[in-house]
Symmetry: C2
Subunit: 515 residues, 2 copies
């Protein structure tokens, strides 16, 4: 294995049914299930479900993964949504190089300190050594901003609002996990520059709202909008906002996507200045913001079950799978025709539907297969359905079975898909909310942490205190840290003190272990 230096336990699924036995014909009736249960061995379950659900294939370089079409189509659906939204905001797409020269990379000190240990360096081409090693972008602030300096001269050049869809590389050594923590990942990164702080502040929140919508409206994953602590904010930035998700099974928070106000730190370092309307020289206010393929991993962790993936209808590339259930003495052709007609009717109504007519798999095998892949709704058509001019619909999320008259198929399927989307979100929210614990004292905090909670606590908002919390909670499971201070602050009665320091509390903050 190449590049496997220092790597820690990368969990590869042990029983890889769909891709494991090389050159062995696919098993027909058995072996489709998962060998691990979500509640019993969450880590192994996750590794297995992303592979057996055909989202991911493990790659021969540790920490790198193959994103298969079943996952890529989810990424594309979100991309279509987000790209259209930012274009409405007059943000334009561009593409900056993958490579950064060391001088530029190291220009903003806090920033490079945050990224330096993870930077991959190209030192050779063919058989020759390069004169100077070249870094691969871990993020593109330092790649882009020398050119912002060049392009921005007068106030009329502002705002400058660019975005790119690309890959970035962070050569991390801790627990690589598909989608969640990988050495290369896909993302969009927006980089904007404004004349005033208030414009920058506004955009930070507009983007954060789009990130909330990606998680809540598309992925059906509840998130908390909040602000990161000084210790957890983006290296070199002014402040970082986040949509913070929580994975009940692991009891860990996860940074869903972040929208940073960089203030004038980078414009200072990279000399991004402009002549304002009064003819004075001023520094630009900058933002950067990104979401990554991690979104898909969070969705899998939150919704998946012991039968496999559970995809929210809005992001599923196949929303409805139609399966013929013929019997020996039945009108097989009639059933097949009804399946085809059903797919056609649904497709014409804009529903993503497919049928599986393969004759070497039984209906039962197909049920399990598409449950593993998380298709939101299954439609079965057998002789009885044909006779009654109906179809049988089975929900992936609840297993509920409903007979639908073919006459009102489109309206009812649409309604069911909407309900599934809604139920997934509501169920996820209930499970998440059940994990939230409000505490006021250190003892309560330690107890809640032991119970793997997402802990809301009054905090003095001091860096040293957060460092202290980390030090005092160090252990095999990993230390606790602040997740975010929610935008919607609960009321705080006068005289409330910090759970960790006993000093006067300034804000409610979520704490917990984290990915």
């Amino acid at each position: 294995m190449a590049g496997g230096d220092n790597k820690k336990s990368e969990k590869k699924p042990k029983a890889n049914v769909s891709g494991g036995g090389k050159k062995k014909e696919v098993k027909k009736e058995t072996g489709l299930g998962l060998s691990f249960k979500k509640d019993e061995n969450f880590g192994e379950w996750y590794s297995e479900v992303v592979v057996n659900g055909e989202m991911i294939e493990y790659y021969d370089i540790s920490g790198c993964y193959i994103i298969r079409p079943w996952a890529m189509s989810i990424w594309e659906i979100m991309q279509t949504f987000f790209d259209a939204e930012i274009k409405k905001m007059k943000i334009k797409n561009c593409y900056f190089p993958l490579f950064v020269s060391p001088g530029v990379l190291e220009k903003e000190k806090d920033h490079i300190e945050g990224f330096a240990p993870e930077v991959a360096w190209v030192t050779k081409s063919g058989q020759s050594d390069l004169e100077v090693p070249i870094a691969i972008r871990p993020t593109s602030e330092t790649v882009m901003y020398p050119y912002y300096s060049k392009w921005i001269r007068g106030h009329r050049d502002l705002p400058l609002k660019l975005n790119q869809w690309c890959n970035v590389v962070r050569w991390e050594f801790s627990n690589p996990t598909p989608f969640i923590r990988s050495r290369e990942f896909l993302w969009q990164e927006g980089h904007t520059a404004f004349a005033t702080k208030s414009e920058a502040d506004t955009e930070v929140l507009d983007i954060l709202e789009l990130y909330r919508r990606i998680y809540e409206e598309f992925m059906a994953v509840p998130v908390i909008k909040g602000k990161k602590s000084e210790l957890e904010k983006f290296a070199g930035g002014l402040y970082t906002t986040t949509v913070e998700a929580f994975v009940p099974n692991s009891g860990r928070g996860i940074q869903g996507a972040t929208s940073h106000c960089l203030g004038q730190n980078f414009s200072n370092m990279f000399d991004i200045t402009f002549e304002n309307e009064k003819g004075e020289k001023a520094k630009a206010w900058q933002n950067s913001w990104a979401y990554t393929t991690r979104t898909i991993g969070v969705m899998v962790m939150v919704h998946g079950d012991d039968k496999g993936l559970v995809l929210p209808p809005k992001v599923a590339s196949v929303q409805v799978i139609v399966i013929p259930v013929p019997y020996k003495d039945a009108d097989t052709q009639g059933i097949f025709d009804a399946c085809n007609a059903t797919v056609e009717t649904l497709s014409e109504a804009g529903i993503r539907a497919e049928a599986d007519f393969r004759d070497n798999y039984s209906p039962g095998w197909k049920y399990s297969h598409f449950e593993m892949k998380g298709v939101p709704l299954r439609i079965e058509i057998g002789p009885k359905d044909l006779a009654n001019n109906q179809v049988r619909a089975v929900r992936r999320d609840s297993g509920a079975k409903i007979d639908l008259p073919r006459a009102s198929l489109v309206e009812q399927v649409k309604e069911i898909l909407d309900k599934i989307q809604e139920s997934l979100f509501e169920a996820a929210k209930q499970r998440r909310d059940a994990c939230i614990q409000t505490v006021k004292t250190w003892d309560e905090f330690v107890e809640a942490l032991g119970q793997r909670k997402m802990i809301l606590a009054p905090w003095c908002d001091e860096v040293e205190v957060e460092k202290d919390v980390k030090a005092r909670t160090k252990g095999e499971m990993g230390a606790a840290k602040s997740l975010c201070s929610p935008m919607e602050q609960p009321e705080m009665s006068e005289g409330t003190i910090c759970f960790a320091s006993g000093k006067p509390a300034k804000k409610w903050t979520y704490w917990g272990r984290s990915y």
Copy 2:
């Protein structure tokens, strides 16, 4: 400059008006023109036009370029077209890692010989050396095919048809040129596997037809469909088809995009086998095909003129620029309202239109600015137009001016845009055709090469003869090589002999210097 090892003359534009003078307010009336003429100094003209047209910014690592929104939007328009077309062909998108381990990269000998000198190697992360250096993909055959071997087992797993949109890196040392030859570029790469050669053959041509459409229907650039010689085919493949463009100003052919049949060479090396319907083990037939951001460069080279870029309407992100032409005593507000109404009317009809209301630039400056950027149609609205309820339209390609009644605006603008698209193609085709020279003897060949022609000659189709042609034409301008043997072969009378070897000719083949 980082990474500038061994690099040869990279032409950076000398007079970079739009981005040169740091912190200097944009010049208002002067300095918008190009300092080089297309016919006089083509190389410098090209470098300048891509920068001043705001497509490209030169980057501080040689051979890497920043693709600005004006060019990125063209890439996106083509991507939307091509992606939809291949999805109709049931090709699915995926994403494989950027990195390749050396063992895999080197598995197919001919293939790696073709790419080895250009491979960039990552040898360090942070301060630590990697155990094994890791290559950055120059193309993804060797990245993907070990997994094709895993996924393909029975005939029902075929065809397997995947595509990815990504960046690739080829650390070349010869003449980097924006879009045309860069060390990192964007492309799509399709990789498909079939049970039979005839399915593979068919797809090669279906994809080639899409590439033709990209060039001819979108870029308005005429291309010749043909087959590459043994010497010029894809390293490790069976045969390569190409759409070949020609740049009259440089007298060079340029490989527009290629669709390869890999035969069974890779399936042999990577053990991509399946059990066929008879229960026998068989090797898969494979294709790979790609087009890159080079398409944009070819388009600029073919259509641009001494005023700047000339964009075909189909790929221009702004098809119509509306410019108010107020006079001191005129109804300025009325003019502005008419401009806004014009943009709205055109936008509603699906035409990409914008207005430029900036008050710190004169109409004349704006005319030049949008001519530089190549906007296909300019609409001017002044007091007289307002009074006559008309607008003045000016074509970028021909400079022709037409007064359009506002009542029939949409139909007429659509018609003009169609005409521009058509005229650009026709004009480019005429210029290209004027460069094609048919020869039969070596002397004629040498003469035509001296005149920078695209030379059609009868050839014996032998590798040694092509090597010999290369050796005999070596010189400052670069050697001649075969460009392609056109799919549509002119008739060849019996007894025709090869222009270079005097042996019996087998096919008509285009020859010339090439990018």
